[in-house]
């Protein structure tokens, strides 16, 4: 049985605007880590708040452990739901010490051993008597996490868990989170706009766009077989090449304005070949620009018909005005 199920959940903030969340349905299995991905305004945070009970949907159902939390006739208040939310800015209580924060939740004091265990895992044992403003951002983040886990929720919700951390810290906190989730066998649903965070942490991803589900699947699936141009672009620069120009039978998606099928091609999937290469379609073009984006150099190739973005191999020299020939190498 699914731990969490959303059925056609819709939420409008104003009657006239398009809905913030539009008929979204997905499930979460026990022990799974699911990422909600989307740009700003895609409705991901609203969805999280609906599950936590801090926002009330207009229609649709939210079911947790077989209990209906939200339906047109029912609303369980947030404090009675068996899930806990970690806020983007942590929302630690500034008037309480770290330990008081952690033990504040319902049932948090029932099992003191678990609290100690959690604090050890999160590496915040020595901080119990300090106040939130006396500890670092990374520590605050872990305190917020432990505070949420201390209530032993069936489902942990996290709103942009890594967004306030600087890049160096991000990497280590990310690994710590994964470890913590696995050790505590937590089912977690987190919101992120960062594809890297989602890819590395999630077992499954739900991509939202303008309030609607764009695609659901595991990170590899989404990366290799994006269902739309939007999903393909989440993973960085992508060229969309009309399918008829490529001979190979590769994964293709609807093009702009539904004009024919296009194939998403990543910059490193272009391979430079000799001018007289034959066998598969070759694209000839002139170099429009070379930008240094260490560790690669990014090159814009104009074929007259298309603009191709590609990475230049380290040993290659190219400058504006040069002519190059490239092929699409899906195995790359």
């Amino acid at each position: 049985m699914n731990l969490l199920a959303l059925q056609t959940v819709t939420k409008r903030y104003t009657a006239t605007d398009s809905p913030a969340v539009d008929k979204v349905s997905f499930d979460c299995e026990k022990g799974e880590i699911v990422a909600l991905i989307g740009g700003s305004g895609s409705g991901k945070t609203t969805l999280l708040r609906i599950i936590a009970g801090l926002a009330i949907p207009d229609t649709g159902k939210v079911i947790l452990e077989g209990n209906t939390l939200n339906s047109p006739t029912k609303f369980i208040p947030p404090e009675k739901r068996n899930c806990s939310l970690v806020f983007q800015d942590y929302a630690l209580f500034p008037n309480k010490t770290v330990l008081q924060n952690i033990t504040f939740g319902k049932g948090a004091t029932d099992n003191p051993d678990r609290i100690i265990e959690l604090m050890e895992m999160a590496d915040i044992v020595g901080l119990g008597q300090r106040h939130p403003h006396e500890i670092s951002g990374g520590q605050q983040q872990r305190v917020a996490l432990v505070r949420a886990l201390a209530t032993s929720p069936a489902l942990l919700l996290l709103d942009e868990p890594l967004s306030h951390l600087d890049p160096e810290l991000r990497e280590s906190v990310r690994n710590q989170l994964i470890m913590l989730f696995h050790e505590t066998r937590t089912t977690a649903l987190f919101v992120s706009h960062d594809i890297e965070d989602a890819m590395s942490m999630a077992d499954r991803m739900v991509v939202l766009r303008e309030g609607q589900t764009e695609q659901t699947g595991n990170p590899d699936e989404l990366y290799r077989r994006p269902a739309s141009r939007y999903v393909a672009r989440l993973f960085g620069k992508t060229d969309f090449i009309p399918a008829e120009l490529l001979q190979e039978t590769v994964h293709s998606i609807p093009g702009k304005n539904d004009l024919g099928q296009v194939v998403p091609v990543r910059p490193y999937q272009w391979r430079i070949v000799d001018k007289d290469f034959t066998g598969i379609p070759v694209f000839h073009g002139t170099v429009k620009s070379v930008t240094n984006r260490a560790p690669h150099r990014e090159l814009l190739l104009d074929t007259g018909q298309l603009q191709l973005t590609m990475y230049l191999p380290g040993n290659h020299v190219a400058k504006c005005g040069d002519t190059l020939s490239v092929i699409f190498d899906s195995e790359n």
Binding site: P77, E79, C83, S84, F87, F93, N95, F104, A108, L157
Partner: protein, 506 residues
Amino acid sequence: MAEVLWHLTSPAENWEHMRDTVLGRYLKGSIILVLGTGTLSLLIGVSTAWLVACCEFPGRKIFEWLLILPLAIPTYIAAYAYFDLLDRLTPLLIWVRTNFSQDAMTWLNDMMLYPVTIVVLAAVLYPYVYLVARATFTQQSNQCMEAAHTLGHGPYSTFWRVALPMARPAIIGGVALVIMETLSDYGAVEHFNVPTFTTGIFRTWLSMGDLQGALRLAACLMALILLFLMLEKWLRFGAKFHKNSQADRPFQRYKLGQTKAGLAILCCMIPLVIGFLLPLSRLTYWASLTAGKTLDSTFWSLTLNSITVATISGLATVVIALFLAYSARYFDSQTVGATNRLAILGYAVPGAVIAIGILLVAEQLNSATNLILTNSLTALVLAYIVRFLAVAWQPIDSGMERNCTQLNNAAQSLGVTSLRSLFELNIPMLRNALVAGSLFVFVDTMKELPLTLILRPANFETLSTRTFDLAKQAQIPESSVPALCIILVSLVPVIWLNQQIRHSKQ
């Protein structure tokens, strides 16, 4: 308030008569006062705020906080301090009568009445405009003003085309407060004998014993106030407050030359002297003459009365305001939100109107139960709560909005009950706002006059009613001792308010 408005439609015997005779005079008096006081406060408030916020001249830092002090002087006490101002004009009036006519003298007397009252009212009410204008000039329009300079606009052009339009919504809000205070004033207009709605209400109720007539007048006054409130909303329409998060860098103030600096000092001195220094020194002088006579045991007992009533209403109001603000958030419902907005309207309602409304409710309750509520302390405290709820609600509500929304969400998400998060999170977090709220209500209650006059139990005197009674018996010097007590107490929140503003700037 609804009670009062409802009576606009009910019949009253004297009404026809009153409408034909006095209503026009009350309306004219109130409107002249509002327009005059509003305009004058606007001029003083904005100009001093501009000087202090954007210009550099000797003494600027001192003026920055000195200019708030007139706020500590209630309008009626300011009027008593200038009690002889009109008398000084008597020789002039006599001269007019002997050389021209009786009519000319009456006309001149009327003409002198309004300017004097307006100057006295504006001299103590302008800080409402000054405070908001100063805040917006220093914090909000900072970057835009710098941008205007780089685009080639000088100080004058920048003031008229950038700073003033940007500060408009805030300034209109300040002027609205001045207008509300003017309309609800009773002591000053009574003293100068200006016909207004508040004096009308008192005359009809106390001298003629005509509650229905007083109600009608109260309803008219309410209608006028609603009109001004709508006007305020309309004037502020389309202009949002811009919060500039990067306004940390201080604005490079205009250095004034010697002549201009002298003028600036003069410009700041005039309102300060008229609104604070002169009244305070006169009162102090009189107090030193009469202290021996007035400081008897009755004086201490009425001081105790004032403090007791003010403490009770301060605490009760804060508890109710906290409850309202919290439940509006917790239940997130339309009804609770509407109750909140309705409840804080009390501050726009003049004390005399609230008093009449409470009288009416009390009388209905008297007949329904066996309790005698009319002229009881309960009714008095209840009226204070209605009148000053907004004063306590404002800091609590904004504090809760700013500091507690997310924390309450977090507490809910952790499965904590609403009552526990109220006591463990909201109350400790809002300690400052709660103290401020009760302090403000405490002081406002101490100062309050018209409502207290109508609703006080028999033989129950407070500092403000004592001041009023003595002044009414032409014992102005004797009234200075209780008046000074009120001013000293009122100074506390004024200084505290200034500290808060300064603190938030850093």
